[in-house]
Amino acid sequence: MNVQLQHIYKNFGAVQANDDVSLSVESGAIHGLLGENGAGKSTLVKILSGFITRDRGEILLNGQPAGIKTPADAIRAGVGMLHQDPLDFPPMTVLDNFVSGRPGGLFINQRAASHEFKALTSQFNFELDVDEQVSNLTVGERQQLEIVRLLALGVQTLILDEPTTGISASQKSALFAALKKLAAQGKSVIFVSHKLDDVAELCHAVTVMRAGHVVGTATIPCPSARLVSMMFGRELAAPSKPQTCRDDVVLQVQHLALSDGRMDVRIDRLDVHCGEVIGLAGLEGSGQRLFLLACAGILRPAAGDVRLHAARNGLSSMAGKPYHDFLKAGVGYLPADRLREGLIWGLTIQDHVALRTPASSAFIDRDSTRQNAELAIQTFNIRGRTDTRAGQLSGGNQQRTQLALLPPALNLVLMEHPTRGLDIESTIWVWQQLIARCQAGTAILFASSDLDEIVQYSDRVIVFSGGKVSAPIDTTSLSAETLGEMIGGKF
């Protein structure tokens, strides 16, 4: 089926997720949709599948306007989508998941459904047991189940959102074989990914998005350098961090293995020195967050050890220690989702300052906390008053508040997207503050999807890609192209 999206617009609050996006996919083609996190790929395909309603724009299927407003409309029009996190029902059986949502008579003909399911799975060499509970399946198997279910619904256009994250190599090759087979049958496939290798191996053509816009379309094969430059834009900024590293190690990671059930991350050895800044590059969800959480003491490692520099006795193991001990060891963590994990929506700036102040008595000293809060507002240039609630602050000001709340003397600061949502001036200002901390000996690990930020402010860079972790690289020896390719999984 020929799919055309014309001039799609969608905004979420102040964020323009899709800004005049057009895309055309021929029937029988596998079309890649490349872009960084937040580029607007997922929004676009969710609009096509009816999961999100668009603000403006037209969807044409085989040249005819398709009034897709809900997933039900999309399925009727022959468009089905495989979501990044499989949208299924874990406590139910494979067969129940297969049948759920399919039209038909009142009663379910289990035997016929099971027969159809087996026929489809064997066609694609998928091995799924109809009676198994979905919660016992791997992500790859859950994807296979979803694909089979969508095909049984008569889908002519299949959308896959980041399907190769978290699945095994053999599942990936089975998936690719299945997709090629579908294309050969005349179905159109939209393959959303950030992995250059996968796109190069599978797709016939590719559209690249950045910041809500389409920045270009190319046919495969295409030099990956060109795709990288489309994805990440201009040349990288020059490194601009002053030298603040010292010799003593503040954080040592040994044979660390992390898992969140979907992704496994392994880091054999990493020494972070006092005053050093290490940037964690990679697309969001490639394992950086797990690593930061483990260093912060929030996520228990499956194996291995995090060693921290404790007051006088040098490095000491933190294995099995509670989060509280990490705080005492001088670790500060700044989460990316400020309102969910960092700040408390209904509490004021002054309340937050009080929560962070070591309490000397049971009572809050209002005057001194107000003064501290005012000082923080002034020093960190927060647009708000002491009695402004965290939920009323703009994103940038929430980030400034989070920074203001970090205790003054820390050995290690862990951050996710420290300057997301800030204007350039504030970004520079924030980093001045952070570098001042480094000069005092604090080490910083930060994850960011802004490559400029990584290159400008890091001493060394580690690249994460789907749980794979590169060795640390000196920032001075990095080029935009190698970094882009590493983020796409080539290392």
């Binding site: 979420f12 969710k46 599948s49 999961f51 999100i52 309603t53 809900t70 997933p71 039900a72 399925i75 009727r76 989508m81 979501h83 949208l87 299924d88 029902f89 874990p90 406590p91 139910m92 129940d96 049948v99 759920s100 949502g101 399919r102 038909g104 008579g105 009142l106 009663f107 379910i108």
Partner: protein, 324 residues
């Protein structure tokens, strides 16, 4: 204890349990769709009163049941508007309604306290009623008891054998996934909340028109809370909820027998004991204790046993569904 006595105990248990079967299956349906209707205590009281009043006024038992079902559905409608559309705490709304409707039943039902009224006539099934043991147990009751058997069977078939039942379980489990498959989550949640409420209303009328015939202040006090506990005990499965209701019925009917045979325990204790025991069973069979215990089983046994007794709540229970 002789054999006849046993049959009497069981027959009493079935009779006591029948209203709870309606109530707990109604709440199971509602909660499976992802909505908690915590108003059960008030719903049962108010619908018991209304059902009795309607039957008394019209001298027609059916009219009583109809009125009770409508009252139950209307209360559920308030819960649904508050919880689904206005996205307020389902617990708060349900609790307030439990209080409000209970008091409303006392206030409005004052004129009909202890007046005699119509009751559901008994309906013995010819031939079958003469079967030894089974006859007196199962075929010498009335239409409402037979209806409760039918309800159990129908709900089970609906839940686990029909397309709509599968969707019902889906929207309580993962509403986003159900939405992606084309379900209208909000409309279905409204529908099942109202259906569950109506069944709870019928449970109220089952008390006032049949098993505890008549009306008095706080006529059905405690049964609403117990129905909510039974839903958890039943692991959100209609048959197990019915089983829980019968277990409660047996406890109650045993208590009334034990009353006469155990001398040094005061009789009043026996009227409370079933509630206490039911809650203890609930505490022991839910929560993480059980998971920890099950972890000690040999691996080969763990899975089937866990599957059989461990029933987690619908994943989206009590959560509002937001669409982008």
């Amino acid at each position: 204890m002789d054999f006849n006595q046993l049959i009497v105990i069981l027959a009493t248990a079935i009779a006591t349990a029948t209203p709870l079967v309606f109530a707990s299956i109604g709440e199971t349906i509602t909660e499976r769709a992802g909505v908690i209707n915590l108003s059960a205590e008030g719903t049962i009281l108010l619908s018991a009163m209304t059902g009795f009043a309607a039957a008394y006024a019209t001298n027609n038992v059916l009219a009583g049941f109809l009125a009770a079902a409508i009252v139950g559905a209307l209360i559920a409608l308030i819960v649904a508007v508050g919880a689904i559309t206005l996205k307020q705490s389902q617990i708060a709304i349900g609790f307030v309604l439990a209080m409000l409707c209970g008091d409303l039943s006392s206030f409005l039902g004052n004129p009909i306290v202890l007046v005699p009224g119509p009751t559901v006539p008994s309906l013995r099934i010819p031939i079958l009623q003469d079967i030894p043991v089974l006859g007196p147990l199962l075929f010498q009751s009335d239409a409402l008891v037979y209806a409760s058997y039918l309800l159990m069977a129908l709900t089970w078939v609906y839940f686990y054998r029909t397309r709509n039942g599968l969707l019902l379980r889906s929207i309580g489990e993962q509403p986003a996934a159900a939405f992606a498959r084309g379900s209208n989550v909000v409309r279905m949640r409204y529908f099942y909340a109202l259906l569950g409420g109506a069944l709870m209303g019928i449970a109220g009328a089952a008390f006032s028109l049949d098993f505890k015939a008549g009306w008095s202040h706080r006529h059905t006090a405690g049964y609403g809370w117990i129905a909510l506990a039974i839903v958890i005990f039943g692991g959100w499965n209609p048959l197990r909820a019915a089983l829980g209701s019968y277990l409660f019925g047996i406890l109650q009917s045993l208590a009334s027998v034990a009353q006469s045979s155990i001398q040094n325990v005061p009789t009043q204790v026996f009227s409370v004991a079933p509630f206490v025991l039911m809650i203890l069973v609930l505490v022991l069979t839910s929560g993480e204790w059980l998971d920890r215990l099950l972890a000690y089983l040999p691996a080969a046994w763990r899975r089937p046993i866990t599957r059989a007794i461990h029933a987690p709540p619908p994943a989206a229970l009590g959560k509002a569904f937001e669409q982008d």
